[in-house]
Amino acid sequence: MSFIYHLAIIGAPSAEQIFELETAVTDAVSGFGLTLGQEIGWEVAPADFAPYQRRSSAAVFFGDVDANHSSLSSLLRGGVPIVPVVSDLNRVALEVPEILQSLNCLSYANGGAKRVATALLECAGLLPKQRRVFVSYRRDEASQAALQMFDALSAKHFDVFLDTRSIAPAEDFQTMLWHRLCDSDVLLMLDTPDYFNSRWTAAEFGRALAKGISVLRVGWPEACCSDRLGTASLAELDTSELDASSGRISDHAIDRICLQLEEIRSESHAVRTVNLLSNLRIGIEAIGGEVIGMGTGRCIRVRLPDERMVLVYPTVGVPTSTTMHDASMNSPDESVAILYDHVGLHPQWLSHLDWLGQYIQATRWVKACEAGWQFADWRA
């Protein structure tokens, strides 16, 4: 069975903790239409945990005296987030191996399994607010199908952006559209025969690809696949799956597309995260620092060459003032950076970020491709 997501419990969990966490995670993912052990790989105290790199994955480490695990170093190096859990926050040094001690630990006494489950799912990008999909279509050709996809994906707790539903009449349509597209993991394109005659120019489409957006093309039976769509994943509709008079897609096809989208989304999330983290690591190691790993809240702990520690929050999509606010609130006493990949972002948004950065010094923006020199002169 090849999993779409991959989670593990490692360290020294008690039987009760395993049961409680398994129950909490099962409950949470059932809303997505996913099942532990089927679409979501679930490993309890494995001797080795080496998740497939193309799947979004995360682990919980339950601490105890002398608890350890042989995969910790390779997981941290590979960008797999680890949530360390202790019985009490005063016992971190006793219960967690040194390699994990600088990551933010959770106390099981505070919030129990539900809190740990939420942290684990957030690390794997599995909170509903993280499951962002952008539906693109031509209103005169696929309105019915777009509404069907919106309803089906919303029912699986995706945060779906549908241009007719999600933009208020007075908002700047084009800017809002790009902003939301760049913030999505997947562009679900309903490719009807006239799609490219009105939707995108090559340059706009190129910008979406430059942001690393994964495209799932649902091809209408009579639509030709444009040359521009070479990098898209394909979900073709058979004539029997589309009702020509109502424009509705069959339930079977909807289920198939949703599952394919889930797979593409996990892969997209995993690939973008690992490459963003690596760009940070390359920059930090070039100046003699160290990236320790990703932990609770998808937060990366970095040691600068002068031994100062910095918390880095990576943003795969579009960073906003809310990202800054959240990072600052989560880590009020720490030196905090927000790492983002500016390639593909709209120039207007980049200038807004620069402006915001000039006035707020508590947390700093860091461009992934300039991480080395920005951290070489770190003041925060």
């Binding site: 340059a203 190129g206 690393g212 070479g230 898209a232 690939v271 490459n275």
Partner: protein, 188 residues
């Protein structure tokens, strides 16, 4: 400023088995990371691709690199009248002479000219089909000392190249950490 030859295309059904191992999204990601890692330091020399070229423009723009100076396209005049629209927008295409009535010969001539450039310091292969092996052989003939990097995880002919020529072992063949691969194997 050295130049890196990029052989990148997306396998299609009906041209060998390359399609079966290819993941188009990973081809997109690998080309994206390659462009980000190199475009400010090296020229990229390639044949263009309709699904990838617009992404290249945008990456160059966002990194402050001049597209028409950073990316050099090669096209054979054999295909005159069927050039992609973007050729007209940028003055960065080098046209090579056709061999009349001979598509194979025309492509061979274009590849020989492209791969015998004196500024080439290496070649990167991503995805691709039957042309990859031909390009690899010509590149090696003209540039025996230059680096060659077949990026395996996105599949296609580059995967075969990496496997058959022994570039990477089993686990490395699946590595999707493209940023680290380019940082490790490309010259600074």
């Amino acid at each position: 400023m050295g130049a890196i030859f990029l052989s990148a295309s997306i396998p299609v059904i009906g041209r060998g088995q390359y399609y079966e191992t290819a993941t188009p999204f990973l081809i997109q990601c690998a080309v994206r990371e390659l462009a980000i890692a190199t475009v400010r330091r090296h020229k990229i020399v390639w044949g263009g691709h309709p699904a990838i070229t617009p992404m290249m423009w945008n990456i160059c723009e966002d990194l402050g690199a001049n597209y028409k100076e950073s990316v050099i396209l090669y096209q054979s005049r054999f295909f005159e009248g069927r050039y992609p629209e973007e050729n007209q927008r940028f003055d960065n295409v080098i046209y090579t002479n056709p061999v009349p009535g001979d598509i194979k010969g025309s492509l061979q001539l274009m590849r020989e000219q492209m791969l015998s450039r004196e500024d080439l310091i290496g070649a990167v292969f991503i995805g691709g089909m039957d042309g990859v092996e031909v390009e690899y052989d010509i590149f090696r003939r003209f540039n025996p000392e230059a680096f060659v990097l077949p990026v395996a995880a996105p599949g296609g002919a580059a995967l075969n190249l990496a496997r058959d020529k022994g570039y990477f072992n089993d686990r490395e063949l699946e590595n999707i950490d493209f940023a680290t691969i380019f940082n490790r194997y490309l010259p600074v």
